[in-house]
Symmetry: C2
Subunit: 361 residues, 2 copies
Amino acid sequence: MSRVHNFSAGPAALPTEVLQRAQAELLDWQGRGISVMEISHRSKEFIAVAEQAEADLRELLAVPSHYRVLFLQGGATQQFAQVPLNLLEDGGQADYIDTGIWSRKAINEAARYGKVHVAASSKACDYHSILKQNDWQLSKNAAYLHYCSNETIGGLQFDWIPDSGEVPLVADMSSDILSRELDVSRFGLIYAGAQKNIGPAGLALVIIREDLLGRARHACPTLLNYQIAADNGSMYNTPPTFSWYLAGLVFDWLKQQGGLSAMQQRNHAKKDLLYQAIDNSAFYHNAVESSARSWMNVPFHLADKRLDQAFLQGAEERGLLGLKGHRAAGGMRASLYNAVSLEAVQALVDWMDEFERGHSQ
Amino acid sequence: MSRVHNFSAGPAALPTEVLQRAQAELLDWQGRGISVMEISHRSKEFIAVAEQAEADLRELLAVPSHYRVLFLQGGATQQFAQVPLNLLEDGGQADYIDTGIWSRKAINEAARYGKVHVAASSKACDYHSILKQNDWQLSKNAAYLHYCSNETIGGLQFDWIPDSGEVPLVADMSSDILSRELDVSRFGLIYAGAQKNIGPAGLALVIIREDLLGRARHACPTLLNYQIAADNGSMYNTPPTFSWYLAGLVFDWLKQQGGLSAMQQRNHAKKDLLYQAIDNSAFYHNAVESSARSWMNVPFHLADKRLDQAFLQGAEERGLLGLKGHRAAGGMRASLYNAVSLEAVQALVDWMDEFERGHSQ
């Protein structure tokens, strides 16, 4: 078999080298005659895996020492509730920025637990650009300011970090964490579902500044209490050990690739290649304002949507998978996560060119 | 390498055949050139995997059609909160049976959400037996009756199903589900963390009678609402796809083994072999009353605990892993889940005999 080019939005492509290593040791891990899936999370062998994964992640993101890293479950969607359950007092207010479907999901869930003030919305421009911070209406006593750094469906990404002053900044980075360099010290809390740039679905990462621990409201389930998770090394109960192990292999792979500065260069080249192909053609179209275009998720439409099916079928025949747009957006979407190579993007651009020439007469 | 005998309490042994199949197709699933981890949970290919897993589980347990099967995250510990958040009204009361550490964890978490009435406790007999139902003090208007069918740490298991009358019966079956035949129709809700008899850690199974859906209180996070999970086929957000796939392989393996009647026979023979070895010796001891002894988790102590370390070391040298008792109990514990063979138990019994002879002079 040959591995195909996988542009899926998530669960998404994993590095082939990571899967090869997992495969090689799936039944006989560390020569122990068992799988890493079959060993106690409290064994010294697994604890070593867990600690190494955290150490590598801290190194990659240069996480300051007064931040805790948590390996949780439930994906980003659980964080939509977990953030207000932990950081929003009964009757308190939080500021949210609306840039698309995922930030609105976070807004709707938080509204179940307190007052949500939408300080800025991209609705007026049909979610094709992000308002400058000067135009945001931040409230004075917000418990936190929440935004989604990359909207996976709309293909909208912040290329800057909001300035929240003394208010803790909370970011859903599910689909762009680890894709480029990041100043973690600007944030109160960062969360991310794993199934894009971290590992398999079923793992969620939280990076939280220590002073934000210990604020959970009474109704917060024990398992969702950040303080409890931090006090127990993310092992208050049995963690998703195989996913944690795989995330560790991905972190190790990222270090071997040269870390986040190398990934940033590579991802920059990948997105340039694809957006240029789109912009140099009247056949393909992406409506997002240039500075807000996502490096990770590139939605685009064919001029004639009756050709969508033929485009997708030809792509699949060429080993280009996962290009169908989200059901809420239609058209196409190419996700360019870390495990997607420049060669994969070149193959996509070649197919786009070939398809356009075949349908432009 | 040769696979060892793994008596770990969880994450626990998985069937070798299951791991071999997962290994073979880890990079190239269904000849598609991608891993099952790398495909969208909403793709028709993964939906087919998910549906087949549910169908096989329903067949194994003969789940009646008015029950829904949910594939969730967070393990049983999340269910400790999720059950009252969904089934207990504000100010309502639920009955709980206390048979050990895991039922007490469920009790403590439920007490955060309403009145918990402990209708029976094994505390008076130091958790070495289970009170007969005649001696339980059930309340009249309980929202539900909760018990833990098998206490993984204490090694205490119900060999009968409580009669809760009109009150929904809720069971934590994390460590004995699928180990023998079961009449699901006696229950309102069954839940189980996966990492014993189902699959890898990070997946939780819920089987719920349909009339119990739609009762979640307002404070329940959307992701923890059974109704939302049921309405969305357990895909309100991205599920742990690889764990779900592996659980499906385990269910398929169980069917090939002859289903739950065959597992019940095999597990009966395994526990008989081990308990007889313990009871026929003054060197090993298990204090649990005969009818309440767990088939799945067999804790035992050496007469002289100064020999514990030597016993464990010799066991490891013979490829017998995971025998150290839980830190709360000390001594030894052999977990005899479905993937542990009779040959493994025989090897353990042989070592127990050899060790006793070597230390009885």
